[in-house]
Symmetry: C2
Subunit: 260 residues, 2 copies
């Protein structure tokens, strides 16, 4: 299985602390040694760092921890291969352009039979993972649902939740999807989140000895939503997801919870 | 104006030497301080490193020079802003998925009126540069020309050459376009290339003191095509492009020269 990490904020924030916790699981403390990726938005555009190798001893991952890039919206992933060989094409997060913005996707679980079920559409997989096939199926549905362009955020959220339920009906479809303005987080089996806001406190990584005092690096109006497959810290209260629900985060808040 | 760099090889090769020459022009020796990008293929998939800042003093560019990634196909770009602000969305190379493979594009020049002329199509710009609009116009034409999927390489080359001529008829449209298997290089005003092959010799960067003896890092069957807006070395014979021609490189060879 793979590990997911998302961050969605109202002020530019670096993801180093949470990414360090995730990277520790990428071959170090965890079995997720088959690749990692980090996608960081700037407006509607995303830049992605990908490596088809373990994150825990990656010099690129170390570089990114030493040279943090602040962002309002990020998705990260560490992979333990279940379907598809270890390669760049099979490394999450996956990115596609739709309606003049980048959509970014990472998946935890296995969606059975998706390769046979993928209908012809504009989005096609480059690699061989069930995850990228499922992403393409999702994107093809969104494009067909809104032929005129980027819809109202709420309408898009309902469409993502519906597509998530339909595509995920034969498998395990925990995913994070970002469009530059919002972050969708679907829980099929496991997902959790925390909103960090004033008064900020200390937090300690569950998989590492790293500790940070957020009160020293924030302002009172900062709001940072962090979403992960399992709690990343051992001294904060994470909200556990309910299978069949999808959260929508906007500007550092849980904006909607939809059936999915 | 911007500077272009492409590399297309028959064996995995690192682009560090040529990229160092290009990066020196990105804010150091040249005026191209408004962003840089490097796209490295692995099969049909590409990973891209982008930074909306000068390459010459970039720690990420320095990291990539110290930790070279070998590839068969690469495109790099340093930008001097002419149209569109400095931002991630406006940083070349641009990437889109078509037919289950990544297409990567970088441009030198200005294509006038392209924003008004861009027809509706599946590919839409995320940023505001004439370059990305021209790339979307090119990709929309390719998709319409081959609705069944990735065509024969020669047929694709003819379509790229034709689209390049039509889109570039009102402006300066020097570009590099890669599809994972081949590299297209269109000369509107300036472009040059060299094929490095046995017997390999020494080369010295034109903009830097860096020297490399390729005979120590190659085998006799290696072939490496390097394409740039201006010769990167001062002791090699670069072939200058003819305006209105497009080169096609495959497996380290100049495979075709087409009118464009």
């Amino acid at each position: 299985m793979c590990e997911l990490l998302g961050m969605e904020c109202n002020v530019p924030t670096d993801i180093v602390f949470s990414f360090s916790g995730l990277a520790a699981r990428g071959g170090g403390r965890g079995p997720h040694a088959d690749g990692w990726g980090l996608a960081l938005y700037e407006g509607r555009s995303v830049r992605t760092f990908l490596e088809p190798a373990a994150a825990s001893n990656s010099s690129l991952a170390a570089y990114l921890r030493s040279n943090p890039i602040k962002t309002l919206l990020a998705i990260a992933h560490v992979r333990q291969r279940t379907r598809g060989p270890v390669s760049l094409a099979n490394t999450h997060p996956f990115v596609r352009e739709l309606w003049g913005r980048h959509f970014t996707f990472a998946h935890n679980g296995t969606v059975r039979g998706i390769k046979q079920r993928l209908e012809p559409g504009r989005f096609r997989p480059i690699g061989t993972t069930d995850s990228e096939y499922a992403f393409c199926a999702l994107m093809n549905r969104l494009e067909r649902a809104f032929p005129k362009g980027y819809p109202e955020p709420q309408a898009l959220a309902r469409a993502v939740a519906r597509a998530g339920r339909e595509i995920g009906d034969r498998g395990t479809f925990n995913f994070l999807l970002a469009d530059g303005s919002q972050l969708f987080a679907r829980c099929a089996t496991k997902l959790c989140y925390i909103i960090r806001k004033a008064p900020f406190a200390k937090a300690t990584l569950a998989d590492d000895d790293l500790e940070v005092d957020f009160s020293t690096v924030t302002t009172p109006r900062d709001r940072v939503a962090v979403i992960a497959t399992a709690p990343l810290t051992r001294d904060e209260d994470w909200t556990l997801g309910v299978p069949g629900q999808m959260w929508v985060f906007r500007r550092g808040r849980l904006a909607e919870t939809l059936p999915s």
